[in-house]
């Protein structure tokens, strides 16, 4: 269907539209018009992604003079694939309606690990070894040698991509990572480098948060984006944590040992180079005198992760004189590593700010703040000069330089915490130095400054006023939409008691109580016998899940559950978890039915949908609070209280409840879908906890469902499922339209205008 939103004709690939999608588009359009940032919360299951994509692509079509580019950031690769699939559907519709003039180029971008098609390279274990394996074949100096010596292996895909030069382009269309790989294979071009280059020509780019937030990556990937770009962060309820992670570093003894090894290898290389090709070192020295800004003469294959601090002025400054020479720089690093080793040998927990830390470095080993600040760039310049290709071996020293640059750049919003052992296991020495960032706004600041419209959206952004404070920005539009349901297709319940009427909770004192474990097990067992297809369970942590599953196994409850459904479980191993998920879906597809055990804050909770028959019921066992004794968390809470006047308790509850809401919020995909959510903890019945849940869940939580025991919950589940099985009118009852056709929409728009005039 197509319709007008003010002066923009929106092309929407479906025959009907939800009213909340329409208002979402309207708000978004106003934010774009105002060239400002916006914050939009809309429940899952209301087609947020397609509404957003439709509006922005239509906006571009309506204003061809102002070609706005869309940068769509997802948290995970699978979300990227889903977004691109929706975009492809939309694009197909727009081309059908408008002809080839609506054609766009949209692509997903990921690392070499996910894009490489060279079988020898991609078989490497992890991301860094793939990167290194690629560099070994494509670095400019390797290729230069290979011209003379044909025995040196090259990458055929990269070579033919280079040969095709500017002819190597992607024709318009929507490319998922898989499409890119297929295209690369077919043409014989390297999909990774092709995609990297096409990013600047593409109308829509979908990639991971890190590509914008992590300054190390953002420097190369995203530097060519113009100001008019619209940046979207989807599923952004955790964006503050991502920002913080991006600027945090931890250092252990292994890291320091590794760094020392790296340093000695580099000094060997320098010695060798001095003997054979001293000119190269001199050339580097001269380049550094001219300043880092001139290092742009490096070839495309060699570009490195740029400075984590990112301020523009650093690039124009010259590297301080005392680390320009390679040997001098190495000795500075050696001293720094030595200093860190000394700090790790502490007996007690130490905590300080970056300023004190830098001062202590300066006084003890004579490295000043400016030298620290340039470490990251200086290291990479050196590694390029030394022609090091096995970069995965040098991760440790990179971490150290990361740390140095961060403490050298920022004076506030960070703390350095040194712990000699883990609080929970004091007998095992495991010293760690943690540079932790507390201020999420630091990482996202450049994004807000550089791009005129940044859209932050998710299904759960409650309470919505926290985010502008945490991220320190002023949205022009900030709205939370509710969901208008045709029928009560979501059924949230708060379960406070087990079948024996005793309270259930994951509170510390009740956590390992066998009675609670049994009650939780009984709840799942009863539900497994009533609910068809898929059931998803979330636990508060891995260790809790392992414990309770083992105890269920021993007490035979698990065996009983397995009589009804297959059981799959999330583990630390991502490969295994992925396969378990795939099998889980297959079990649901085939009608066998399955239960999936997962962890709140885990990878599955982060972005896997359990819609339709993949999840008819989600049980949240307990409240997923963070480990409150963690010093890092305490330091952050302190910072939040001092800077933003956010109370500790409030933040912890907010954080736990957004995780819980995120876990249960993925059961429905559309208004035709249905699902139940059980919050199984007595603490949910308290108003201060419950009220932090998003309003769209709260509005469907009836008073009668707020204090249930297992038998009552089972009864409600039976009733609910029976009700959902009945046919219903999709467009909603009179007066309350929940599905709009084109005609309805036109009427509605006209009606509004009449009212205005």
């Amino acid at each position: 269907m197509k319709f007008q939103i003010e002066d923009v004709t929106v092309y929407f690939p479906y025959d009907n539209i939800y009213p909340e999608q329409y208002s979402y588009m309207l708000e978004l359009k106003r934010a774009l018009d105002a060239k400002g940032h916006c914050l939009l919360e809309m429940p899952t299951g209301t087609g947020k992604t397609i509404a957003l994509l439709s509006l922005i692509t239509s906006y571009v079509l309506a204003k061809p003079s102002n070609p706005v580019k869309l940068l769509y950031c997802t948290r995970t690769v699978h979300e990227m694939e889903k977004t691109l699939a929706e975009l492809r559907f939309l694009h197909g519709y727009q081309v059908k309606e408008l002809g080839p003039s609506a054609g766009i180029l949209a692509l997903g971008l990921s690392s070499r690990k996910n894009l490489c098609v060279n079988p020898r390279v991609v078989s490497a274990e992890n991301r860094d070894s793939v990167d290194a394996a690629c560099r070994k074949l494509t670095a400019s100096w390797v290729r230069a040698v290979a011209i003379e010596n044909p025995d040196i292996p090259k990458c055929d895909f990269f070579e033919s991509y280079e040969k095709a030069a500017s002819d190597a382009v992607l024709p318009p269309g929507v490319y998922t990572l898989q499409d890119l790989r297929a295209f690369g294979k077919q043409k014989g071009w390297c999909p990774y480098f092709l995609a990297r280059r096409m990013v600047q020509f593409a109308n829509v780019v979908v990639y991971s948060y890190q590509y914008l937030l992590d300054p190390k990556v953002a420097g190369i990937i995203s530097k060519e984006m113009q100001r008019e770009t619209v940046v979207v962060f989807d599923e952004a309820h955790n964006i503050d944590n991502v920002c913080i992670e991006a600027l945090s570093v931890n250092v252990r003894t292994q890291t320091l040992d590794g760094a020392s090894r790296n340093l000695s290898r580099m000094s060997q290389e320098i010695e060798r180079l001095k003997a054979t090709d001293a000119g190269r070192l001199r050339a580097e020295y001269n380049r550094l005198v001219d300043g880092l800004a001139q290092r742009g003469d490096l070839l495309s294959g060699d570009t490195w992760l740029a400075n984590p601090a990112l301020p523009d002025d650093i690039l124009k400054e010259a590297v301080p004189g005392n680390i320009r020479r390679a040997e001098h720089f190495l000795s500075v690093l050696r001293r720094f590593v030595q200093y860190l080793k000394g700090r790790l040998q502490t007996e007690s927990v130490e905590k300080e700010g970056p300023v004190t830390f830098v001062a202590s470095i300066n006084s003890q080993v004579g490295i000043d703040q400016k030298m620290l600040k340039f470490c990251y760039d200086r290291l990479h310049s050196l590694m390029l000069t030394l022609e090091i290709t096995d970069t995965d071996e040098f991760l440790h020293i990179q971490t150290i330089c990361d740390l140095a640059t961060l403490v050298g750049t920022y004076t506030r919003g960070f703390s350095i915490i040194i712990e000699p052992f883990d609080e929970r296991m004091p007998h095992i020495p495991d010293p760690v130095l943690q540079l932790c960032c507390h201020d999420a706004s630091l990482a996202i600041k450049p994004v807000f400054e550089r791009f005129q419209s940044v859209v932050i959206t998710s299904g759960t952004l409650s309470p919505i006023d926290v985010y502008p404070r945490l991220l320190n920005f002023n949205p022009v539009v900030s709205r939370s939409f509710t969901i208008s349901l045709t029928r009560d297709c979501i059924c949230p319940m708060v379960l406070t008691r087990g079948s024996d009427q005793l309270p259930v909770s994951t509170k510390y004192d009740l956590r390992s109580d066998p009675g609670v474990e049994k009650n939780y097990g009984k709840l799942l067992l009863e539900m497994a016998s009533v609910v068809p297809d898929g059931i998803v369970c979330f636990f508060v942590s891995y260790s809790y899940m392992d414990g309770i599953v083992n105890s269920w196994h021993e007490s035979g409850i698990l065996k009983e559950i397995m009589k009804h459904k297959l059981v799959f479980i999330e583990t630390h191993d991502v490969v295994e978890t992925t396969l378990a998920l795939d099998n889980y879906r297959r079990a649901c597809d085939s009608g066998r039915g399955a239960v999936f055990f997962s962890v709140a804050r885990g990878k599955v909770a982060e972005g896997i949908d359990f819609d339709r028959h993949y999840g008819r019921l989600v049980i949240m066992f307990g409240i997923p609070f963070q480990y409150t004794l963690s010093r890092i968390l305490l330091a952050r809470l302190e910072y939040l209280r001092e800077t933003f006047q956010i109370k500790e308790g409030d933040f912890l509850t907010f954080d736990a409840l957004r995780q819980a809401a995120q876990c249960v919020g993925r059961v429905i995909r559309s208004k035709a879908d249905y699902g139940m959510m059980i919050f199984a903890d007595k603490r949910y019945s308290r108003h201060d906890k419950r009220s932090k849940l998003p309003s769209w869940i709260l509005s469907h939580l009836r008073d009668a469902h707020m204090n249930l025991s297992t038998d009552m919950a089972v009864h409600i589940a039976r009733e609910f499922l029976r009700k959902m099985a009945q046919p219903y009118d999709k467009s909603g009852a009179m007066g309350k339209r929940t599905l709009l056709s084109q005609e309805d929409l036109e009427k509605m728009v006209n009606g509004v205008e009449e009212m205005v005039f």
């Binding site: 599953v549 397995m562 978890t577 378990a580």
Partner: protein
């Protein structure tokens, strides 16, 4: 010119020489032996041919196109030579084209013949008898062949969703009850390393019993979750270590399977994208990890892993069909299965498109879309007739309750009466208009009921009810002979009628062949009629009659058609429009 080869003078790349065509290949020998443009090419690789039109002032040329591009162009002295070669080449290529059936197709045909003995006799009779070619025979059975793709895999037996665990008391006394074969199957399927070990150790190194005792011991050690103790014991006992160590085969398999995972659940891909997964980046995880020396690392195994593997195996179902009596045969069958899967994987290319289709399907939001045609799933009913019969019986039962089954519904009315009644109805409609609903439900129900009943009563009178069927009263030999004649006559007639209109030479030939075959059926039918005992002769002739009639009709059509062709020729000679007449013959 003979059937087996053709030799003509021709030029290839402007070199004059001799072109010799045989059924398999064409050979070009230049007159000048030194010129070096010799050719000796098999027709197998020739994909098609092109030629120049006569009379366009063009040279008579023939272009043979090769499979992988590239072609051979011959220039002839005159068109007659060229045409002779062209026809021969066309035949030769056609021959190979037929042979180029995919092997799966051939396999499928053979399978069908094996499954269906009736089909087999027909095939033997007509194809081996030279009346129909293989292609013609199968062309009429496209549907049968096509079913191949939609055919569902046979239903598999499931495995029990139960984990097997060892009781401690049994371990200590080493007094284990023999494992039931089902559990052995499950263990082998869940733990390929155990399966492999079994094949390796039993019976050369240890007995069956010893093997299972050792396995149980390992399981027990796992259940104690004392990794260090397990490692210590494994260090002493090489064989036990196999059970205690992590299953490398599973890990390999996982790596293989991960490539086929739906990208929308692929968490593993994030690992490759996300920079915060790097060691030392980001914040230290809250989760405690138990630190373990690297030497113990291979012995770490979690219950979750086993649980996932167990469910995956149960979901897959029982993959081997062998009798589960013997652990060894189960192990071998499983090992073979694994091997087959591995080789299948390499050839499977459809997977990627299938996956991307699945994603785009799931990307759409159903209830926003306009009304769609309800998806109709084909009923998987083994024999539609059986189903129909059984449904009839049900319908009849229901009918008996409501109205008397004996009441005749069809009354006799003269044509005039019927016409009047119809006219009245039409007048009524003219005046009043159609009422809603058009049909009176009760009347419709009654008619439908009566109809169903009449069908079922017919069935009970002359259907395959053993008492009444005429066929069943006949001796078995006669019955089978009759049925056979029926099917073969049907087959012939089907091909006969589908050949019309005779537009080209090919169907013409076919019809001639079919006509000959049909004319041979008459005496056979006659012979059969005479050979049966006099009691049955009447019934048999009744049954044969429709066959003869059908054949007669075919012959009549054939004769008329021949006559028409002749007329047509005459008419053409008179330079009249032939379109109308040929149109007639097509009717």
């Amino acid at each position: 010119m003979s059937d087996t080869h053709v030799i003509k003078l021709a030029k290839y790349k402007r070199v004059p020489g001799l072109l010799k065509l045989t059924k398999e290949r064409f050979i070009f020998t230049p007159n000048d032996q030194k010129s070096g443009v010799k050719l000796n090419v098999e027709f197998k690789i020739v994909k098609g041919h092109k030629f120049t039109k006569e009379g366009n002032k063009q040279q008579p040329m023939l272009n043979l196109m090769q499979d992988q591009g590239g072609n051979y162009i011959f220039e002839f002295e005159c068109f007659a030579d060229r045409d002779a070669c062209r026809e021969f080449v066309a035949k030769a290529i056609a021959l190979y084209a037929n042979e180029q059936l995919s092997s799966t197709e051939v396999e499928r045909r053979i399978e069908l013949l094996q499954e269906n003995s009736e089909l087999q006799t027909l095939h033997k009779q007509f194809v081996s008898g030279g009346i129909l070619t293989d292609d013609e025979f199968w062309a009429a059975r496209k549907k049968l062949l096509d079913q191949n793709d939609s055919r569902r895999p046979k239903q598999q037996l499931a495995l029990k969703n139960e984990t097997w665990s060892v009781r401690q008391s049994n371990i200590v006394t080493l007094n284990l009850p023999a494992l039931p074969p089902e559990i052995i199957h499950q263990i082998f399927a869940e733990k390929p390393a155990v399966c492999e070990a079994y094949l390796k150790f039993v019976p050369h190194k240890m007995s069956n019993k010893e093997f299972w005792n050792k396995y149980s011991r390992a399981q027990y050690l796992h259940s104690t979750r004392n990794i260090i103790a397990a490692a210590a014991e494994a260090a002493e006992d090489e064989e036990l270590a196999v059970f205690l160590k992590r299953d490398d085969m599973l890990a390999n398999e996982a790596r293989r399977k991960i490539r086929r995972v739906d990208p929308t659940v692929d968490i593993e891909a994030d690992e490759g994208d996300d920079y915060t997964h790097l060691p030392d980046h980001g914040l230290v995880r809250d989760e405690t990890k138990d630190v373990l020396d690297s030497q113990y690392e291979p012995y770490r195994r979690s219950f979750s892993q086993d649980l996932n593997q167990h469910s995956a195996v149960v979901l897959q179902g029982r993959v081997v069909d062998v009798e589960l009596s013997d652990a060894r045969s189960v192990a071998q069958a499983l090992a073979r299965k694994k091997q087959a899967e591995l080789s299948n994987d390499k050839t499977n290319t459809k997977l990627e498109t299938e996956l991307s289709n699945r994603i785009s399907r799931s990307a759409e939001i159903e209830d926003l879309q306009g009304p769609q045609d309800p998806a109709v799933a084909p009923l998987s009913i083994k024999d539609p007739r059986d189903y129909f019969d059984s449904q009839q019986a049900n319908a009849l039962k229901a009918l008996d309750d409501t109205c008397s089954a004996t009441k005749p519904l069809i009354s006799s009315a003269s044509a005039q009466q019927a016409y009047d009644s119809l006219r009245n109805i039409i007048f009524d409609i003219n005046e009043v208009g159609l009422n809603e609903p058009i049909m009176n439900q009760e009347v419709a129900l009654k008619v439908l009921g009566g109809f169903t009943q009449s069908i079922s009563s017919t069935k009970f009178r002359i259907g395959n009810s053993p008492n009444d069927s005429i066929l069943d009263t006949l001796p078995k030999v006669t019955k089978e002979e009759l049925l056979h004649h029926w099917t073969s006559v049907q087959e012939l007639l089907k091909h006969f009628w589908s050949s019309y209109p005779l537009t080209t030479k090919y169907p013409n030939n076919k019809v001639t062949r079919l006509k000959d075959a049909m004319s041979q059926v008459y005496p056979k039918l006659q012979g059969m009629k005479e050979s049966v005992e006099s009691d049955f002769r009447h019934q048999v002739s009744l049954l044969v009659h429709p066959m003869v009639q059908a054949l007669d009709a075919a012959f009549a059509h054939y004769d008329a058609d021949v006559q028409l062709q002749r007329d047509l020729l005459r008419v053409e000679r008179n330079a009249m429009g032939s379109v109308i007449f040929s149109g007639h013959s097509f009717c």
